[in-house]
Symmetry: C2
Subunit: 353 residues, 2 copies
């Protein structure tokens, strides 16, 4: 029943109130206010109904619509750390695209703890999101099992799984390291170290694999490979790993880092030890996150297309929502070398000054 001012007990404008004021049946109001059925109503009547609805401040009740259609038009995006600059452009690209496609986005910052991630995703599933973008997954991930078991349409972004249970949009991580090593070798470096990422993440694993392969293809794997892995993608973890690397291999002349934050951690350690970049050690990062042109020295790095990754993951997810039989699909975007000031020829080849 419509109460005062045509509102029900929840304070919402009722279709009945609009019908009364428009002088039409409530079913006509319902048809006129729904874009999908508006053509069934005489245009002048539809216009009158819409005007009355506008005047009363009517808002369509998406919750009720969801119950009828079974679609929520909600997408969940699951991030390990919203404050990490790497995820901002992925999120930006994905949410702009989803918005253009008529979806709203729920963003959840779930950290790296598997139990907490599952708890979050269960809650999103309870909200009946139409699909999920997962930027969190490790190489063997219980979240992926959860989504596969429950047949929740899902797409992985940036980080992939070992298996091929879900579609994914990633950068070519192995190629990125190949490009980084090629750049250092072309400058004359031979004793090149790798500052690796976490090995439980595909990005860390594949970039390390790319490094090993690139060194082998250049014949630089005759002696032991110089590698230290960081426990997390953070500046502090990068510094810890860089100390290990430099302590064990004081003669290295270049470092290919698995991530820009790790490279910045190496900057910190070089400053501690009065070493200069690139005069003493050249450093290449990975990602080209914001402001890498402004750090000192400006960081040579491998640029990945974060925003495009976000967009393509959104497109892919919407396709999967529309067609649950779509086969698993892997989109791999090519990275690009950005040369700045953190790489140069090794001191042994530099002209005497």
């Amino acid at each position: 029943m419509a109460g005062p001012q045509g509102k029900n007990e929840q304070g919402r404008v009722t279709l009945k109130a609009i019908a009364t004021l428009s002088g039409v049946h409530v079913s006509t109001v319902s048809r006129a206010l729904n874009i999908g059925t508006r053509s069934m109503v005489v245009p002048s009547v539809a216009e009158r109904v819409i005007k009355v609805a506008d005047r009363l401040g009517y808002r369509p009740d998406n919750t009720a619509i969801s119950l009828r259609t079974g679609e929520s038009k909600l997408i969940g995006i699951i991030l390990p750390d919203i404050a990490n600059a790497v995820f901002a452009p992925i999120l930006s690209g994905a949410s702009q695209r989803f918005s253009a496609l008529g979806y709203s986005v729920i963003v959840a910052d779930v950290g790296n703890d598997a139990a907490q991630q599952l708890d979050f995703v269960s809650r999103l599933a309870a909200r009946r999101v139409d699909g999920l973008i997962l930027a969190t997954v490790s190489r063997k991930d219980s979240l992926v099992s959860f989504c596969v078991d429950r047949q929740i349409p899902s797409v992985l972004v940036n980080r992939a799984e070992i298996g091929s249970r879900l579609s994914a949009v990633t950068s070519d991580d192995a190629l990125g390291m190949q490009i980084a090593v090629d750049h250092l070798v072309s400058l004359g470096h031979k004793r090149i170290g790798h500052l690796g990422g976490p090995m439980n993440l595909s990005t860390g694993f594949l970039r390390r694999q790319g490094f090993v392969k690139a060194m082998a293809s250049r014949g630089l794997n005759k002696t032991d490979l110089i590698i230290a892995n960081a426990s997390a993608y953070s500046r502090a973890a990068g510094a810890t790993a860089a100390r290990v690397l430099l302590d064990a291999h004081p003669k290295l002349t270049a470092i290919a880092a698995a991530n820009d934050l790790l490279a910045l951690g190496a900057y910190d350690v070089m400053q501690e030890r009065n070493l200069f970049c690139p005069a003493d050690i050249s450093i290449v990062g990975h990602n080209d996150m914001m402001l890498m042109d402004m750090v000192n020295p400006a960081l040579t790095t491998i640029r990945i297309s974060h925003k495009e990754m976000g967009r393509q993951s959104a497109d892919l997810l919407v396709e999967i929502i529309g067609n649950s039989k779509k086969p698993v699909c892997k989109i791999v975007l090519p990275p690009e070398l950005i040369v700045r000031n953190s790489t140069g020829i090794p001191r042994s080849l530099a002209p005497a000054s």
Copy 2:
């Protein structure tokens, strides 16, 4: 009706299926699965029901719950640019707090266009969000009118309105500039310029006001004030404004910028003109966004508590949702000076080298 495996036509596990397998009435199942009513059921029975529900993969239907309670447990956070590093920690602080309080967060990146912002917020309102955090508002904002008219619980964060129609959590922007000017004056600077932000935003407006007041309190407003306003908070707009400032006032020795990105734009212009910071011109930023310790030179800036701002806005909004009569309230957090390498004594006072 329960279909195969106790699922209905939408593929959802039904309460009836759980009731049959647990050997209890469906109303008992409903009570056992709802935390609010579980105590009405014998513990051993509740446990049996929960086990069966778990085994079948039952998910509570929040959409249906929303219709019953009128609460969606959804919060909308409206940002002007999710890729701007300033918003990441606000978002992070707010979403962590909301999550702890049982709310999910819909993040919308709505740009700076007023019409698009209204369209987005209308869509969120149609989803019946319980409340909104607005990080977008200008000093006179149509979004605020929209939320006030429709009585949508809302809190402004970072940027406030001129009026006091909605509660807000901001940094003390005028004080920030006061601290910046005091720091420069204490180093011996007198010809201090202000690189202002957009005047339609409270942050730009109040920081400029703070600058003017600080200069006056130091007796440095005898001649014309040296001010150029950027059209946006971006490095490019900062560079454009810095060129105007330096062309008109080639003798200035220090710049207090309204934002770190504007300060970085000034760095770019100084490099173009072969000027050195701080030897030729000292620069103070505002915000202390990520990596400001890594730029060259490391930026002296005014740190604002972004994450805390996000947390407090979440707490405030939840209070308002619980009590629609709560009076409008303004929380203003104090900023802090972080001295790094971009400020020094003016050349005229430096010892001859």
